[in-house]
Amino acid sequence: MKTLLLHLGQYFIMIRKVFSFPEKKNVFFKQLNQELKKIGLDSLGIVTIISFFIGAVVSIQTAFNFESPLYPKYLIGYATRESLILEFCPTMLSLILAGKVGSNIASEIGSMRVTEQIDALEIMGVNSASFLILPKIIAAVLFFPALIILSISIGIIGGWIGCQTVSITTASYLYGIKYEFSSFYVSYCLIKTVVFAFIIASVSSYFGYYTKGGALEVGSSSTRAVVYSSIVILIFNFILTDLLLG
């Protein structure tokens, strides 16, 4: 309990340091640009592949469970859409991104810590937390919603391909996709994504920023960043779902 409180205190102290006004706007935007590429664009490949196959598998599994003639076929498209928007894309992909992006952030900042690069920044008079972490948080918060929207779109295409293998017509799949569509679900999905993006970037940065030791500790910081980001994501998934849909 004491350790948890210590970590929480340190985390909020770091966050306070992070959210100070950038010292040089042009340097900040250059950093932000690099982070958008590293955190966002470099994740496009994995997001595309995972979303496509999960969409296909979800539609096939739904079709398998709705074999009864009492169920209309369009329910397959409907169920695929709902599961992609409500849970798979915002939560499962965020967990996957916590692994990919989170470990990258923690190991990058951790390496800078153990090689005294962060000390060098502090000695020059640079706010190292703001300089290193703020662009990462903003890049994640800006880009992850776009990634999730892309993921939903590709998942729906994957679902359609899946339907072709179980003889569901394109017309009934598309009817199901459009059936009783609530735009609030997309808002709910994006709210969750923004919160998860903040969690991934900030929690991973925290574990990297407070790394002590050498290469081994950088590795363990990276692992802890993924584990704790995932746990916090799951907790906030429950809280946000209860608040927004409960």
Binding site: K24, T115, Q117, E122, I123, M124, G125
Partner: protein, 249 residues
């Protein structure tokens, strides 16, 4: 001049520094020597504000560094150049960007002005035309020289070096030592070098302070060091057979 007064530092029950006072002179290469674990790195970290002393004062030309407010401390830090043991260069930047970084962060100079200053510093450390090299292309000696160039780019009044020769061959180490001394004299800088390399001591030691068990046990010039009668210091300085033989001569 940098003056420290009654510095005490402990980590838990371990008293690392005990009541340390010393004056580091301007325009001279001041050396802190001592065995590994004697507290010299902790002292250097206190001097640059990376560790907090339990008590005592650190005065940069009369300015009490520990009690300055954040803004004043930040301004003072821009007058301090630091050379880290492993260089601490930013590996995602090339040589030019590394050296230019403090100028970008703290001045409003044009790119041409900054580039001129960077080239000037690279010339001082004998690394002309290395601007576009990436950090992983540099040898150990080159990393130290680029770090020195970055440390002096803001024309500091104080230069603090943590074991500048660690991991270097004796010939390169002497090049680095001489470079530090040349910069100190040219810029009339207060330089503090943290080292346990006896070659460095003999090459550039003008003012030497010996730390043992968290206390300054001896101080003087390199000539006084050779002729000293302090048994602990002699055990440290003349530890190798070669130096023992030289001491006898």
């Amino acid at each position: 001049m940098i003056e420290i007064k009654n510095i005490n530092k402990s980590f838990g029950d371990n008293n690392v520094l005990r009541n340390i006072s010393f004056k580091f002179e301007k325009g001279k290469t001041n050396l802190i020597i001592g065995e590994s674990g004697s507290g010299k790195t902790t002292l250097l970290r206190i001097l640059i504000g990376l560790n907090k002393a339990n008590s005592g004062e650190v005065l940069y030309d009369g300015r009490d560094f520990i009690n300055l407010n954040t803004k004043e401390k930040r301004k003072l830090r821009q007058e301090i150049g630091v050379l880290f043991q492993r260089g601490a260069l930013y590996d995602y930047m090339n040589v030019e960007e590394n050296i230019m970084f403090p100028l970008t962060m703290f001045t409003n100079q044009s790119h041409e002005e900054k580039l001129h200053r960077v080239n000037d510093c690279l010339e001082k450390v004998n690394l002309e035309n290395s601007n576009k090299l990436s950090i992983n292309e540099l040898s150990g000696g080159m990393i130290k020289r680029v770090s020195i160039a970055r440390a002096i780019v803001m024309k500091p009044r104080y230069l603090l070096c943590d074991e500048p020769n660690s991991g270097l061959d004796p010939k390169t180490a002497i090049i680095i030592d001489n470079l530090i001394q040349k910069i100190t004299i040219e810029g009339n800088i207060t330089t503090i070098v943290n080292t346990h390399d006896m070659n460095s001591v003999m090459e550039i030691g003008e003012v030497i302070a010996y730390i043992n068990n968290g206390e300054i046990c001896w101080s003087g010039s390199k000539e006084e060091l050779i002729n000293n009668n302090n048994p602990e210091l002699n055990n440290f300085v003349f530890a190798s057979k070669l130096f023992k033989r030289l001491k006898k001569i």
